[in-house]
């Protein structure tokens, strides 16, 4: 397998170079997605399927779509495509310095099991069997709570881009798929499967690789597909139900964290209730993450500006 790993490393470096140094923005994004898929594969090789899932769904998939959307918007706005990427030397030097520091940091980590034994020791008290979920939703729940709030803040930062007070209109541009076309057919076939996979990923997260972010991304993709295929209307902030869906995950997480003060501290879950609390948080967090990510991909309302 050493040959495979070395080939994988070489491909990662090639894809990264092509994304940064190659001509054309569209091509750069395509290579960025390829890079993400290869990185996900390398996490599988390192025995970290949780990180691999997150990288494939969020790093390659979601970020790739967001970048593709940005390239499309730039083209529609008539922005000039830079002829050839120029090297910005101060930025290049700073990047090389950061990379060198990271290499030094990785090399200076003493070989050993890290924090795994401590986590394994705490595992029976966390309410879940998957050590990754135990860290994310219990031992270091604080980080995950802040992540979900950051996601919400990013979406709120996107809305001011809606022009002319159109921010209550349905999100994103107007989609015009042929009513009986391939996209409409695809949009009817895939979402049931995606719904099953998304819900399974969240449920499985308690004992196997999976979780709210991975499941939420799959559900968001299914939702965006339904909207692009013209099967459902894009969500709009005029409807309170959508605002509720955005807020309920982080809000419930925060409320249950505050409730933990009764049993010993902020975000401390009593051992007997931990499994139930974590599942409830994950369910509602998945809903909020799915809606937030879908709205990010759709972008600020554009249909109102056209009318």
């Amino acid at each position: 397998m050493a040959v495979f790993d070395l080939a994988l490393c070489a491909l990662i470096l090639l894809a990264a170079t092509a994304a940064v140094a190659g001509p054309g923005m569209f091509r750069a994004v395509v290579f960025f997605v390829v890079y993400g898929v290869l990185i996900a594969l390398s996490w599988v090789r390192l025995g970290m399927p949780d990180v691999a899932l997150a990288e494939a769904a969020i790093g390659a998939g979601l970020t790739g779509i967001l970048l593709l959307g940005a390239v499309g918007r730039l083209a529609r706005a008539g922005a000039d495509e830079p002829e050839a990427p120029r090297i910005d030397w101060p930025v290049a030097l700073a990047t090389v310095a950061v990379a060198a520091l990271l290499v030094w940091a990785v090399l200076s980590i003493a070989p050993g099991p890290g924090l795994a034994p401590q986590v394994a020791g705490m595992l029976p008290r966390t309410g879940v069997e998957n050590p990754v979920t135990a860290v994310l939703l219990n031992l270091r729940a604080w980080d995950t709570l802040l992540e979900s709030v950051v996601l919400l803040a990013a979406l709120i930062g996107l809305w001011p881009l809606a022009r002319g007070g159109a921010w209550l209109e349905p999100a994103g541009p107007l989609h015009h798929a042929l009513p009986e076309g391939v996209l409409a057919g695809f949009g009817k076939l895939l979402p049931p499967v995606a719904l099953l996979v998304g819900v399974y990923l969240v449920w499985a997260g308690a004992s196997q690789p999976g979780g709210a972010f991975q499941g939420g991304t799959v559900l968001a993709a299914a939702g965006v597909l339904c909207i692009m295929a013209g099967l459902v209307r894009a969500p709009g902030m005029a409807e309170p139900l959508w605002r509720f869906a955005l807020l309920v995950g982080p809000a419930l997480f925060l409320a249950l964290g505050v409730a933990g003060l009764v049993s010993g501290g902020f975000l401390v879950f009593p051992q007997a209730l931990a499994k139930g609390i974590i599942l409830v948080i994950e369910m509602f967090l998945t809903l909020s993450i799915a809606v937030t990510l879908a709205l990010m991909v759709l972008g600020p309302p554009e249909s109102g500006a056209a009318q």
Binding site: V182, L183, L189, L190, V193
Partner: protein, 98 residues
């Protein structure tokens, strides 16, 4: 013992053939002159190549559930590739084709 050997043989032959189809599809993508023929090469060859890879891997599966998962992956990839090929070709048609 013989069964294991046969399984290994089937896996080697099928994944090898799958890789051959991928190679052919990639050659077509790089060498064919316009969007439509490139799509033709890519989708047909890669879908068949993935099918052969999945079939080859299915001979190494320990349970029927694993076989079903491999089949589902192939079916979903077929569906997505077919749809995307249609969308790309329609977009190329609208823009006058290249």
């Amino acid at each position: 013992m013989t069964l294991d050997l046969l399984r290994a043989l089937a896996s080697y032959v099928l994944t090898g053939a799958g890789l051959g189809f991928y190679l052919a599809g990639t050659l077509g993508l790089l060498r064919f002159p316009d969007t439509f023929s490139r799509l033709h090469a890519l989708t047909k060859a890669d879908n068949l190549g993935l099918g052969m890879l999945a079939l080859g891997l299915a001979f190494q599966a320990q349970t029927w559930a694993e076989v079903a998962k491999l089949a589902l992956i192939w079916a979903l990839a077929l569906l997505a590739a077919g749809t995307v090929a249609q969308l790309v070709s329609r977009s190329a048609l609208v823009r006058g084709g290249r």
